[in-house]
Amino acid sequence: MTAIVKFFTTFDTWTGRIDAVVKVVIATAMFVMFGLLLLNVLSRYVILQPFFWLAEGAGYMMAMVGLFGSSTCIRHSAHMQVTLIPKKLAGDDGQAHWVAVHAIKIIVSLLVIGYAYVMIRYGYAFAEFGRNEYSPSGFFIVYWPRLALPIGGLLIALQSVNLIGRSVVSLITRAAPPNPQDEED
């Protein structure tokens, strides 16, 4: 039991570090997205020479923000979701309810991992189709931006496994799991 707790606690720390990197990546992508859009406006209205690839690039940055940022939302429970049942159950101190809360959390995470699998496997296959394909502006090879799908899926799956780990640790120790990385945030 101690080994399981130790494993998931370490896993939590590592996924926390990954999450910290993801946050820097999406913040940077957000800034680049803004920069490209601003250049797009300037090129269209100031120098009167629009470059289509600027808007395209901004779109790819947005995909990165959406897909990578989703894993952060998973970790910090920031996704749009209805938490009525877990909250209702968590309000009760009875052991059966307490176990039920974590059972639901584990099932939910497994379902998310199921969908993340589709993103990883078929997202990668979709990216592979674009290995020699250029974007409509002819500026980008679409393989690279499409890779955001499997990478995003992988990150989502990792953070979901971490949530399972947290529930398992909670079930074993009957306490909130340690989460050093989140404290640093």
Partner: protein, 432 residues
């Protein structure tokens, strides 16, 4: 059978607390299982990617970033000062300032949650200190926060427009009418409630004070003028306007006011990216969900189902109203629009004959009522959390505002000119 299974998976997983993007994604898998072709999974990913890279959707993260920058840059205080100079002397002065500040804040934030966070933490303690019952302070804050989505540049209007091909300019123009109408009615209700409770007012601001407040808020107020003027005037697209809005807010907060430094800029970028991610992933998966909904002809089946119950369009609208009202209690407007929009918009536009703009505002306002309705409305709970007020206390005071919201929604349903006049006058489209 497949459709029933899809809806069962969708609602079953949502009730279980699966994130909305996962629930929608899993329900689309029912179509794949039925068809048995792996290529469908490739199409889902293709659709998701096309949703996530759509040009119009780019306005969503940009407007969210603008809101983050303006909030961190201390713009809220300037807007509150202006609102106080204008309406502080009305009965229930601070409450009126709360409503008007929310309306001003809506023009730079576009998000109801941001409004509650920004206004709730300022106004609820201040109102309690001035003798307002905590529940009333919470109720006024929660209901005025629902102005954000209907006042340009409300993010939900962009999401709706981008998903269903309705011009964002037309949505914004209609939003101006609905937003002003709602704000005026909220202020009227606030006046009546405060007069009944004998709540004090501020002294009337002198002309000099009004001018000073206006000067202080002049630059922040330039932002909505820039956005609306650009988009509704047909000069720039919503996405281009959103980039200009970010540039303007960066200039204002870094160069002029010097209230945002490198660290808070990073935090604004990070937080806007996280909030955007939550919306964008649902928007992306919603495109593949829409694909399945269209392939399965679900809107037609829903329309036939409704017409078999009654052929009276108004009764059908009441049924849709009730369904959305309940859905709105449990989950935010954006998620609901992305989930139910692909099914309901074709029914409302194609079968019932509402214009796309009117349909958008019917959906947005109905969902807003649910979001502030006890016991689980999202805005209600967030306000209770931010303002440290008991939910039950807010519940006792929020009913007049819910009645106003419901009345406005029925006005939008019954009187198309409310949403259609401005887009028609300006020739912005979106009217069918």
């Amino acid at each position: 059978m497949v459709i029933v299974l899809m809806l069962l998976v969708l609602f079953g997983t949502i009730i279980l607390s699966v994130p909305v993007f996962g629930a929608m994604g899993l329900s689309t898998l029912v179509h794949w299982i039925d068809q048995g072709r792996e290529s469908i999974l490739l199409i889902f990913n293709q659709q998701t990617m096309s949703g996530l890279t759509g040009f119009t959707f780019l306005a969503v993260p940009m407007f969210l970033l603008t809101g983050e920058l303006m909030s961190r840059g201390g713009i809220t205080d300037r807007l509150i000062g202006l609102a106080r100079a204008f309406v502080g002397h009305f009965t229930g002065g601070l409450a009126q300032v709360n409503v008007l500040s929310s309306a001003f804040f809506a023009t730079i934030s576009g998000s109801g949650q941001a409004d509650v966070a920004a206004m709730g933490s300022v106004f609820i303690p201040a109102m309690k200190k001035e003798g307002y019952p905590g529940g009333l302070a919470g109720a006024i804050t929660a209901s005025s926060a629902t102005l954000s989505p209907v006042i340009p540049p409300g993010v939900i209007m962009i999401v709706y427009g981008a998903l269903f091909g309705v011009p964002i300019a037309a949505m914004f123009a209609a939003g101006l009418t609905v937003g002003i109408l709602l704000a005026a009615l909220y202020m009227l209700v606030t006046y009546l409630v405060c007069r009944k409770l004998g709540i004090p007012r501020y002294n009337r601001a002198t002309l000099r004070q009004i001018v000073m407040a206006f000067k202080t808020a002049l630059l922040p107020l330039g932002l909505p003028i820039l956005i609306l003027g650009g988009i509704v005037g047909g000069i720039v697209t919503a996405t281009e306007a959103s980039a200009i809005a970010v540039a303007y807010s960066l200039f204002l907060t870094i160069v002029v006011y010097k209230t945002v430094n490198l660290r808070s800029l990073y935090e604004a970028l990070r937080d806007a990216a996280i909030t955007s991610a939550g919306i964008l992933i649902v928007a992306g998966v919603a495109i593949s969900f829409s694909y399945v909904v269209a392939r399965r002809n679900i809107p037609q089946i829903v329309a036939n189902g409704l017409l078999s119950v009654t052929d009276n369009p108004f009764t059908i609208m009441v049924l849709i109203f009730l369904a959305l009202f309940i859905a709105g209690m449990f989950i935010g407007r954006t998620a609901n629009i992305l989930m139910f929009g692909p099914i309901l918009v074709p029914v409302m536009v194609g079968t019932l004959g509402y214009s796309p703009v009117q349909t958008g505002f019917i959906l947005i306002t109905v969902l807003g009522i649910g979001h502030m309705t006890p016991p689980v409305g999202g805005t209600l709970l967030t306000t209770a959390l931010v303002g440290k007020v008991d939910v039950l206390d807010i519940t006792r005071n929020i009913w007049p505002f819910i009645i106003v919201d419901s009345a406005v929604t029925f006005m939008i349903i019954l009187i198309p000119p409310i949403t259609e006049t401005l887009p028609r006058l300006l020739g912005l489209g979106g009217l069918g």
